[in-house]
């Protein structure tokens, strides 16, 4: 279950992380968008503000306040010129001194025209302009009257002089009106200045506010974005690592000897490794479209094995007509299960052979033991008649069968040594003819149905381990006797060969079928694996013999025709090149 949690958690952890990453991304994008909009707004406000400032200065200052003041002052100046000019004429009577008076009149008219146009834009000054104009008109009328009186001569001049005081009063009145207009224009100027200031302040305020918000957003982004980025990057990194790990895991699984299948809860195949492709002969692309039951018809056997669990979790599966044994195990996940199927056909066969060997060994040991025990028990029998010959036979039986037991135990031990590569071989010169003759003599005693012959050109000397080689020859002779139950001749031929010598043991027995000849030297191999017929045998004799001969640098082979007989050949080098 722990495994299950571990396997499912990356997926579970990744989902919220991806969601939060998405949210963060959305927020950042929103902030950046707002910032951009604020900056655009800031630019817009700056442009609009400066435009408005320019316009307000244009309108109020340049177009209104300044012309108002200028014209008002000009009118006062021109009126002073007129008054001075008229007074000069009155004193001198010289017509020339009226020049400035004549020139001022159109200038004043022009000034009033300007003021009128300004008054249309700013009606509040209309009153002041009209007041100033009425006084100007009054003064102009007075000046014209004085000029006309002076022109009439000295009488007119006197009357004109009498009017001067009245004129002075009129002029003062004008001055007052003109001053009021000027004050008014100053007020307008001040107003314009204030308006400009207000506009500037408003714009500045707005700009500051927008800049403040933009700055805050920028700061927030500066504070959070790198963290977000780091987290996003870390998440991305983790995802990549997970993906890489997944890649590596599946790469590893591709090269695992066992078949691995990932199944969902409906037993549909989500993953199918190369070993599974090989064992079940179904490519992954095809497996991914099927359920496990469609791929493995014997699924029930596998499920049973899984339910058994442990070392017994082995199920037979037939693939292409061939029975394969699979060791099965599974890990359950939240979203399905992982099934691991290991091909243990070879192990299973070996295990079966080992089981058969134990049965065989038990049988082989029990047989001589039964004889020994039986003989001893019979000797102990008190109702037995006195019979010296019988006693002798029973003792001989004990002797022979004990030797046979010892031989068997020896064989089992030697085979274990051979398996571990722990056989020590001596190396001495020995005569194969003598060795074969002595071995044949030993076997001859027990095989009364058979005739034995040893054929050798003389002494044949090779370097070998004589006791081990004798073991080999004895084994071949025993086999020759065992597998020719009807008797017949057993021939041993020793001959020289280039670089060595050979021993051939031939019988007239049941022979070895051609298809079995390749296997008879294998461990636990028996012609009759079920042991229903035939003489016993541990299935170790030929295995040990071949191993020993090969360790002496030689070779072992068989020629046989079923029903006719067999010939086993041992070839030995004169001097072994390899000694184990």
């Amino acid at each position: 279950m722990d495994e299950a949690a571990a396997a499912s958690s990356p997926v579970d952890r990744q989902r919220p992380r991806r969601d939060s990453a998405l949210v963060a991304q959305r927020r950042t994008r929103l902030a950046l968008g707002t910032l951009l909009m604020l900056l655009v707004a800031l630019g817009g406000i700056a442009v609009l503000g400066s435009g408005r400032l320019y316009r307000s200065s244009q309108n109020q200052y340049v177009k209104e306040a300044i012309p108002l003041r200028t014209n008002a002052r000009d009118i006062v100046l021109q009126m002073v010129n007129e008054e001075t000019s008229v007074r000069g004429y009155l004193i001198t009577g010289n017509r020339d001194s009226l020049g400035p008076y004549e020139r001022a009149k159109p200038a004043i008219a022009a000034d009033f025209a300007t003021l009128d146009s300004l008054a249309r834009r700013r009606p509040e000054i209309g009153g002041n302009v009209d007041a100033a104009r009425s006084f100007v008109t009054d003064l102009e009328r007075y000046f014209a009257q004085q000029v006309a009186l002076v022109a009439q001569g000295p009488a007119g001049q006197r009357r004109a002089e009498e009017n001067v005081l009245d004129g002075k009063r009129k002029f003062d009145q004008f001055r007052l009106a003109a001053d009021r207009l000027l004050t008014r224009s100053d007020q307008i100027l001040l107003e314009a200045e204030r308006a400009q200031h207000d506009t500037f302040r408003n714009i500045l305020g707005l700009v500051l506010a927008v800049a403040g918000v933009a700055g805050a957003i920028g700061l927030a982004l500066l504070m959070f974005v790198p963290e977000r980025m780091r987290r996003l990057y870390a998440g991305e990194q983790a995802a990549r690592r997970a993906a890489e790990r997944g890649d590596r895991a599946s790469h590893a699984l591709e090269h695992v000897q066992a078949s691995v299948a990932l199944l969902d809860n409906n037993d549909r195949v989500l993953y199918w490794n190369r070993a599974a492709e090989r064992v079940f002969r179904v490519p992954e692309a095809e497996a991914l479209t099927r359920t496990l039951r469609e791929l493995i018809p014997e699924l029930d056997l596998i499920e049973e094995a899984l339910a058994r669990g442990g070392p017994g979790a082995v199920a037979p599966v037939v693939v292409d007509g061939e029975e394969r044994w699979l060791a099965v195990s599974q890990t359950t996940l939240a979203e399905g299960r992982v099934l691991v199927l290991r091909d243990v056909t070879t192990e299973q066969q070996l295990e079966r052979a080992r089981g058969e060997f134990i049965a065989t060994a038990s049988h082989e040991l029990r047989t001589p033991l039964a004889a020994v025990y039986g003989a001893v028990r019979t000797l102990r029998r008190d109702d037995r008649p006195v019979d010296g010959e019988l006693d002798e036979r029973l003792l001989a039986m004990i002797e022979t069968e004990s030797a046979r037991l010892k031989e068997l135990i020896e064989q089992i031990l030697v085979s274990a040594d051979v398996d571990r590569g722990e056989v020590r071989l001596s190396r001495e010169t020995c005569d194969l003819r003598a060795l074969c003759e002595s071995a044949t003599d030993a076997v001859r005693v027990h095989a009364r149905k058979h005739t034995f012959s040893v054929d050798a050109p003389g002494s044949v000397l090779v370097e070998c381990d004589p006791s081990r080689l004798r073991q080999v020859v004895l084994n071949l002779l025993d086999n020759a006797v065992k597998y020719s139950p009807d008797g017949g001749s057993v021939e041993v031929r020793v001959s020289e060969r280039p670089g060595g010598a050979s021993i051939e043991v031939s019988d007239e027995g049941i022979g070895v079928p051609a298809d079995a000849q390749a296997h008879i030297f294998e461990k636990f191999a028996r012609l009759d694996a079920g042991m229903l017929r035939g003489v016993g045998g541990s299935g170790l004799g030929l295995y040990i013999s071949r191993e020993l001969v090969e360790r002496m640098g030689g070779r072992m082979s068989v020629r046989s025709q079923p029903g006719v007989g067999s010939t086993f050949v041992v070839e030995l080098p004169r001097v072994p090149s390899l000694v184990a």
Binding site: R366, T367, G374, T378, D383, L532, R533, G536
Partner: protein
């Protein structure tokens, strides 16, 4: 003394693969005294036993010990010879080895059961094959008992007596099925 010997021997006989002892094998009535029984057999028709084994020592041991307790014993060293003898002569019981060089013991038993002349002869397997599967097979082939090697030749006669007793009382088949049921477990 004889009865006391049997238990450890049985246990030893089944040690490797089938440890469960089979106490009921000797539970059929008290064994009569060997000498008395032997004496009784002298005058009555002596039961005839055919011993089939390829090992001369095994045949010798069976023959000596069975004759000592009053049986008439014939030997056969392989399957073919066993069938031949069984067809020619009437036997009260056949002690049959499983591993024979020519025709296996199981096959011999099957053929004996198939033939009218030999069908009635009770067969007892005497084998060094001691696994449950071997015993089951033996009983399935109709054997009235299965004695595993090594066995005590002193009590062999007594065992054969008991088996013959069962056969006479018509309990042999019941015993056989009982054994099979037990082996199935």
């Amino acid at each position: 003394m004889i009865a006391a010997l049997e238990r450890p021997l049985r246990a030893a006989g089944g040690s490797a693969t089938d440890p469960p002892p089979r106490p009921h094998l000797r539970a059929v009535g008290p064994a009569p005294h060997t000498e008395q029984r032997a004496g009784a057999r002298e005058h009555a028709a002596r039961p005839r036993v055919l011993v089939v084994d390829d090992e001369p020592s095994m045949r010798l041991l069976c023959t000596i010990n069975l004759r000592l307790v009053g049986f008439e014993v014939t030997e056969a060293e392989d399957g073919r010879r066993a069938l031949e003898v069984a067809r020619q002569e009437p036997f009260d019981l056949i002690l049959l080895d499983v591993m024979l060089p020519d025709i296996g013991g199981y096959d011999v038993a099957r053929r004996l059961a198939e033939e009218d002349g030999t069908r009635h002869v009770p067969v007892v397997f005497l084998s060094a094959r001691t696994s449950n599967a071997d015993l089951r097979r033996g009983f399935e082939l109709g054997a009235v008992d299965y004695i595993t090697k090594p066995f005590d030749p002193i009590v062999l006669g007594e065992q054969v007596e008991q088996i013959l007793g069962r056969v006479e009382r018509g309990e042999a088949d019941e015993y056989r099925l009982e054994q099979l049921a037990q082996l199935e477990e």
